[in-house]
Amino acid sequence: MKFSDATITTAIWQEIPDTEDPMQAGVCYCAGYDVYQDLLGKITWIEYLFLLFRRELPCSRQRALLEGLAVALANPGPRDLSVRAAMNGGAGGSTAASCLMAALAVAAGYHGGARDVYHVMVAFEHWGDNLEHWRTFLTAPRDDPPDSWPEVKTAPGFMATTTVCPAPIKHTLDYLAATFGEGKLAWLRRHRTTLESITGLALAQSAVAAAALADLGFSPDAGEALFLLLRLPGASAHALEQSELGWRAMPFHATGIQLSNDPGLQPRSRRKS
């Protein structure tokens, strides 16, 4: 594809300029559909989300799966690391954008976050539903090329801190697998306990999300981004609530730090070189 320095190339969005001002859009098309004169009032938010990322409308099965996934991911709750990050912003009276950015930064990580979703989706691309390949993959040392992501040892898609798969994750997996029918979710549901015994760890919500996003036909890159996007509502709501409650309502752990190398109180007048 050839590109011009003066244009934006896209298969997602087209604009017909307003007849009086070429800098304003008169008509906007998303993947060929007139957004404001056709889709508005007819399409649901979830269908539109699918259209933006896949450039086609979802079938009823895909719509139901994405709808279910969006509900399951929307709020991991105030103990979740990414929601806590947003709440830290709220508690201090930070801007709405910074609270969302804080949630994104934390939800992006390997530990139950979007990077984990990405790696599980890549693994689904490589290993499909071959349980023996997954066994080899999950028991091999991780070999991620070094870059700015920290090194991790936990197998992608599993919780580094527990052997007990929480009920909400099992409910999500059961519901989504039943909603969509045969696919990666159904495979994951069938083999969850086997996979958990291979890793010695509980299945994470990121693995369920990855299977769902793969079943919906999203690439690992798109899955990573959508996972982040779908988790924002709860983070934002909790941050707003915490902002209204104020900083005193947020745990500060006043006696919670223990320094292992505390030099003790130093006389201020005795300056060291």
Binding site: M1, S4, T7, I8, T9, T10, A11, I12, W13, Q14, E15, P17, D18, P22, Q24, Y29, A31, G32, Y33, D34, D38, K42, I43, T44, E47, R55, S98, M101, A105, V122, T139, A140, P141, P145, P146, D147, S148, P150, A155, M159, A160, T161, T162, T199, G200, L201, S219, P220, D221, I257, Q258, L259, N261, D262, P263, L265, Q266, P267, R271, K272
Partner: protein, 291 residues
Amino acid sequence: MTVTPQPPPQVRDGEAVWITDMGAWFPGERVVLRGRDLFTELRDMSWMELLLLGITNRRHDPRQLRLFNGIWVIATSYPDPRIWNNGVSALAGSARSTASLAIAAATAVSEATIYGHRPLTGAMHLLRRVATQQDAGLALPKILRNILREARCRKQGHPGAGKQRAVAVFPGYGRPLVRRDERIDVLLGLAQELGFGGGRYLSLVAEIEKNLPGLGLELAANAGIYMAALAADQHMSTREFCHYVTLCFSSGFMCCYIDALNHDPGSFFPIPCSAINYVGTSSRSYRGNPV
């Protein structure tokens, strides 16, 4: 080789207390960083020295501090809003957002694949990997050939475009837009002036560059690999280097944000509707039921 499942750590152990040797604030009294009192032992440090102490837990001498400061000044903070990460900051200014949001977003965007934190970290890793294998007796052409073969076996994504993009196989070699890197001579001049012009990793940069054409790769070294080499010669680890470069572009971000604030709102390279080159599905009608 397989990994035997280990029992997971008990997260509950950390509920009541965070045990650390990094530092803490004693409200109303004092602050400790890396076991040192901020108000007595560290109060005359430059910001760069403080940053490096936090990252490495090592003190750096004045020549090293000039080097690490100089790398940031020379190679990382261009006040040009066309550069991708700087553009984020400029757009934030143009949209009348805040400086903090601009700088934070631009810093995060700097973890790019074709430039910024990821190839810089990859450059340091490349040098260390090559040096380790040289120490084991392997010849440089063979080492580089093996690295290229491994990347091809892994079916690594392309850095410049496509799905699952990945940092270049030889990060620090090649450059978007132009081949010549105007920063290198200035960086090397500073290194010479400080007596750091003869380090092992610095020499390795040129040796690798000489061997790349033998693999069919006509790639010139860029400033990133020199930054990595200079830091490696000062015993900075790959992870420490990754942390050191995290904030390195911030001065340029601030310039671009302020510059955009000084222009009219929304005036940063405005794009007319006609500049959208639509290559998607042609016009169609929605056939679903109304919501």
